[in-house]
């Protein structure tokens, strides 16, 4: 089959409306008679609610109604979690949409005001009088386990939300190993901050019982599924629309109290109600990411062969279990802590802990960045211990090309790869040998440069539904696609994936254009509307192209199959004698007689003369369930300088060599890598949510919470190799998260390399100037660089 658009840098079709300001984001939408909601949030991390007095708020101009927890609790279900990892003793604690008698984190919803305009709604919040009785609070997951720490939930007397173990018995290897290195790591809490804050607009028709909810969601069908249960609205009566969504990074997976409350008010008041989060609210009310303490041990030989890794993790879950929260530090993390290395024995033990903080859920990479960070960092610690170049160490331990499919110690089967090839390409691109020489030369002038590697693999393209069930995800992970060819041969393509910045309107168009030989301009890709699109599971876990694209390929093939029968009839030859290429059907050897797929489609719609037994019309759906995850991999390298006077780290070069299988649109792949890398570097150097002892979020605005900014970065260099995945019809692997997964340890490894002459082995992220400077000072006090 000719591949006309596959591999082409087709400009993103979605950008035209976005750059012209004609996107349709939830908050853009205005409905007649619409009311505005605002939410009062707890200023306390932990408190009893003695009383809520809404009388004066209720009398404020424009206020329609003020709701409290006790008013809604009988009418609304609780906010559920949808991931129950097996054998994790998960404590399913109740999470009421509005707090009733107790609040457990700063930002928890306490009351809802609905008013004529957003100003009136906000103003009324200041008039609600809540009598709180503050309780001691705890924000650190390790301290929360101490017996003297305050308890959050009766159902979890130890504050333990889950306790989960996986892997092989590593004790014997560790006790017999020549070299054992140990290191504790802190993977700090991050605040997602997509460009668009969350928003909900809900309309209810009391006559028909139909509800329409415009939501900022990455998975409209999951939202419909969960909200229908919470609200008691039958699924077929609830329509969820997510047209344009301005980024999610995992924070728009969860079903939130705010959305449910907005829907509740719309039904109760029989008027459309809109709620939109402010940026300040986003900091406390939208799920956070990461937040681990990890103890990592590695056993190996003096010659650099890794024998075993062992991880013990304390993961902060926040005050309640978010929708996918429990799956993140367990399934998406523990099963891949051996990384890209051929390690015979590995184990992970995870405590998920309740604290008085915002709930934690998926954040770009979700579990896999945490796992990758640990293995990539401990590899460098090991390399230093045995005096080996970290590149050499990686070369020895990387899974070899001939070992695929490779079963890791947790029973996960890596699909395909040539890990050494990406490493070699990276070394060649960088001229590693001369970089190392430069580093030595600079050191003699008391200048500090470092090079850091991350040879990662990750598990994405979530995923086979059977596995989803086995790991406790309360849903399927297949994907749906519908291709609807109209009489004129134009196509509407409907996908159950729900892109929100990733560019699938373009890449999916490219797939269909190629398979059906229809011009891209004749194809529209529709997503994010539960009434138009068949059941699907949405966009997260780098799954849309691998799984949604798989469904699409399957649907396109079915279209061709049907069209071929009609074409044979039109050509008056047996079906077996019809050739198909790029939208053209023709009898074997006589291309000049070809009929085009768009003509065939017209005939299918007219139905005047169809072959025996063929139904009219040209529309097919496909549901595709992959046989496995996909495993993109690569080598990322960071080159940094450290200013010893200020402690400032500068990124001098960044090279990403990734293999996500064949790239449908290399420009879009590169864009995903750029964004991902920047987010991962954000964790390494800049970002970090800080709670004080009382559970107050100290870093609650952009004044304190440092997002990575364009001026912090050099031009990012990208390269690719292409190893197809045998697990899906397109051979593609996910690439939405690889940058974030790979870059954090690459940068930290580079900084540790730069600081190696000061004897610094590890520093906690983010590697801020004062932290780095302090480490250098401490070393200076002991005699300075070696």
């Amino acid at each position: 089959m000719s591949r006309k658009l596959w591999g082409e840098n087709v400009a993103r079709r979605e950008d035209i409306r976005l750059v012209q300001g004609q996107g349709q984001f939830t908050d853009d939408r205005v409905l007649p008679g619409m009311l505005y909601a605002a939410i009062l949030r707890s200023p306390h991390a932990h408190a009893k609610i003695r009383q809520i007095d809404v009388a004066s708020a209720q009398k404020m101009p424009g206020v329609i109604k003020v709701y409290t927890g006790s008013m809604v609790s009988g009418h609304l279900g609780t906010i559920p979690t949808a991931w129950i990892p097996p054998d994790s003793q998960l404590k399913m604690v109740p999470h009421p949409p509005l707090a009733v008698d107790r609040v457990r984190y700063v930002g928890e919803a306490v009351a809802l005001v609905v008013a004529q305009d957003p100003y009136q709604a906000e103003e009324a919040l200041y008039r609600i009088l809540v009598d709180y009785e503050p309780l001691p609070a705890i924000s650190d997951p390790v301290q929360a386990l101490e017996s003297s720490s305050p308890r959050l939930h009766e159902e979890a007397p130890e504050n333990v939300a889950l306790h989960w173990k996986v892997g092989t018995d590593t004790d014997e290897v560790f006790s017999g190993a020549d070299v054992v290195v140990r290191q504790t790591f802190r993977q700090q809490r991050l605040i997602p901050n997509p460009m668009e804050p969350r928003s909900a607009l809900v309309q209810y028709n009391s006559a028909t019982g139909d509800m329409t909810a415009w939501l900022t969601t990455q998975n409209p069908h999951i939202h419909r599924f969960l909200m229908s249960g919470i609200l008691g609205i039958p699924e077929h009566k609830l329509r969820v629309i997510a047209q344009d969504v301005g980024g999610g990074f995992g924070s728009k997976i969860a079903c939130y109290a705010d959305e449910v409350l907005t829907a509740f008010a719309a039904r109760d008041l029989m008027r459309p109600v809109k709620w939109t989060e402010s940026r300040s609210e986003h900091f406390v009310a939208t799920t956070h990411g990461r937040d681990h303490y990890d103890e990592v041990e590695l056993a190996g030989t003096k010659a650099g062969r890794v024998l075993a890794v062992r991880v013990k993790t304390y993961a902060n879950m926040g005050a309640y279990l978010s929708t996918a929260g429990p799956g993140v530090p367990t399934i998406l993390f523990g099963l891949i802590v051996n990384g890209a290395y051929d390690i015979a024995q590995a184990s992970a033990e995870v405590y998920g802990v309740f604290t008085n903080t915002t709930p934690v859920d998926a954040y770009r990479g979700a579990g896999r960045p945490e796992a990758t960070f640990l293995i990539e960092r401990i590899m460098d610690v090991y390399a230093r211990e045995i005096g080996m170049d970290p590149v050499e160490l990686r070369r020895i331990n990387l899974i070899k090309k001939e070992q695929f499919p490779y079963t890791n110690p947790f029973g996960i089967v890596y699909d395909s790869g040539d890990y050494h090839q990406t490493l070699d390409l990276a070394l060649k691109t960088l001229d590693y040998a001369s970089l190392r020489q430069e580093r030595e030369a600079l050191r003699r002038q008391h200048k500090y440069m470092g090079v850091g590697f991350s040879t990662y693999v990750e598990m994405c393209g979530l995923g086979p539904s059977q596995v989803a069930g086995a790991v406790g995800f309360q849903g399927g992970l297949w994907e749906s696609a519908t291709i609807r060819l109209h009489p004129t041969g134009k196509a509407t393509v409907l996908t159950g994936a729900s892109p929100h910045g990733q560019g699938e309107e373009t890449t999916f168009g490219q797939i269909v254009a190629d398979r059906l030989g229809i011009p891209l301009e004749d194809i529209d890709v529709v997503h994010g509307d539960t009434d138009r699109v068949s059941m699907g599971w949405g966009t997260y876990g780098s799954r849309s192209t691998a799984v949604g694209g798989g469904a699409l390929a399957k649907a396109a093939d079915r279209i061709v199959e049907k069209a071929k029968i009609i074409a044979a009839h039109m050509l008056e030859v047996p079906v077996g004698a019809v050739q198909y290429d790029a939208g053209q059907f023709y009898p074997e050897g006589s291309r000049e007689r070809a009929v085009g797929i768009q003509d065939v489609t017209l005939q299918a719609h007219l139905g005047w003369n169809l072959p025996e037994g063929v139904e009219p019309g040209m529309e097919v759906s496909a549901f595709y369930d992959p046989t496995n995850f996909t495993y993109p991999f690569g080598t990322h390298v960071a080159v940094v300088s450290v200013d010893p006077d200020t402690g400032e780290v500068k990124l001098l070069r960044y090279l990403a060599v990734d293999d996500c299988g064949p790239a449908i649109n290399p420009m879009i792949v590169e864009g995903q890598v750029h964004g991902g890398v920047v987010q991962g570097v954000g964790q390494a150097l800049y970002e970090g949510a800080v709670y004080d002892g009382d559970g107050q979020l100290v870093s609650g605005s952009f004044m304190d919470y440092a997002m990575p900014k364009a001026r912090f970065f050099p031009r990012l260099e990208t390269q690719r190799t292409e190893t197809p995945s045998p697990h899906n019809p397109l051979g593609v692997k996910g690439v939405g998260e690889t940058g974030t997964i790979a870059s954090t340890p690459a940068v930290v490894n580079a900084v540790m390399d730069a600081l190696s002459s000061f004897g610094v082995v590890n520093l906690d992220m983010p590697l801020t100037p004062p932290k780095v400077w302090q480490a250098i000072q401490t070393s200076m006090a002991k005699g300075g660089p070696s």
């Binding site: 957003p118 952009f702 304190d704 900014k709 004062p770």
Partner: protein, 285 residues
Amino acid sequence: MIAAEIGYERAKTIEEALSLLSQDVDAKLLSGGHSLVPLMKLRLAQPSTLIDVSKIPELRTLDVESERITIGAGVRYFELLGDTRLEELMPVIAQATSVIADPQVRHRGTIGGAAVHADPTSDLAAVFLALEARFHIRSAAGRRIVPIEDWYLAPLTSALERDEMLVAVEFPRPIPRRQAYVKFSHPASGYALAGVAAIMDLTQHGLVQGAGIAVTGAATMPFRASTAEAWLQGRPLNAESVAMAAQVGADDGTYDADDGQYPAVYRKNLARVMLARALEKLAPQ
């Protein structure tokens, strides 16, 4: 994050603004709004009425005379950047202004707003101190001039009284020729963790004369590094003298602002490093 309801008046003249200000004790002047409006959204400021002074022509003037340069309080940052006379006579103000935030902020923010807001991390604070700015003030009752020594009273508090208005900032001439502003930005806010303005002349023998050196951001209050200025007077500017001046200059500040992430010892070190870097820029090549 929505401000409380407020009244709004646009003043056409200084007199009108002052009369409105004297009638309402809870009114506040609005210039570029880039400090005041964020505070109002957080409800840390809740003025009854905003008196918009941004359209008063007298506040938007820039006079260069032989004895002084006088910049109207309403002159916006970007206007300081484009002025060829300033470029020639006090390039340090353009250097400092060019690293304030981003183009949006620089097109709204004003020199007067920055002075009155008295943010201890304001970039222009270092320039005001190093160049010994004088603040021209008016109220319904009269006029006065406040010298820089008396201007900054506490973080976010200037010497301005409630019913007063800043009309202009004056920089006495002559201004030493060698000028530099260097800044180490907070990675989140972009404000100065340490900003240093330094000016001086060098005699034909290369000896320092009339140095004005000031630090913003690092300490509790922006401060003048007087000890460094005095120490440098009459000395050559070289690696040793720069290091010494930076050391003693950093000691001139009081560092009790411990915000956890940026502890006082670090801030003081940063003041020293940035002092050295500013002075290095002034050294002959």
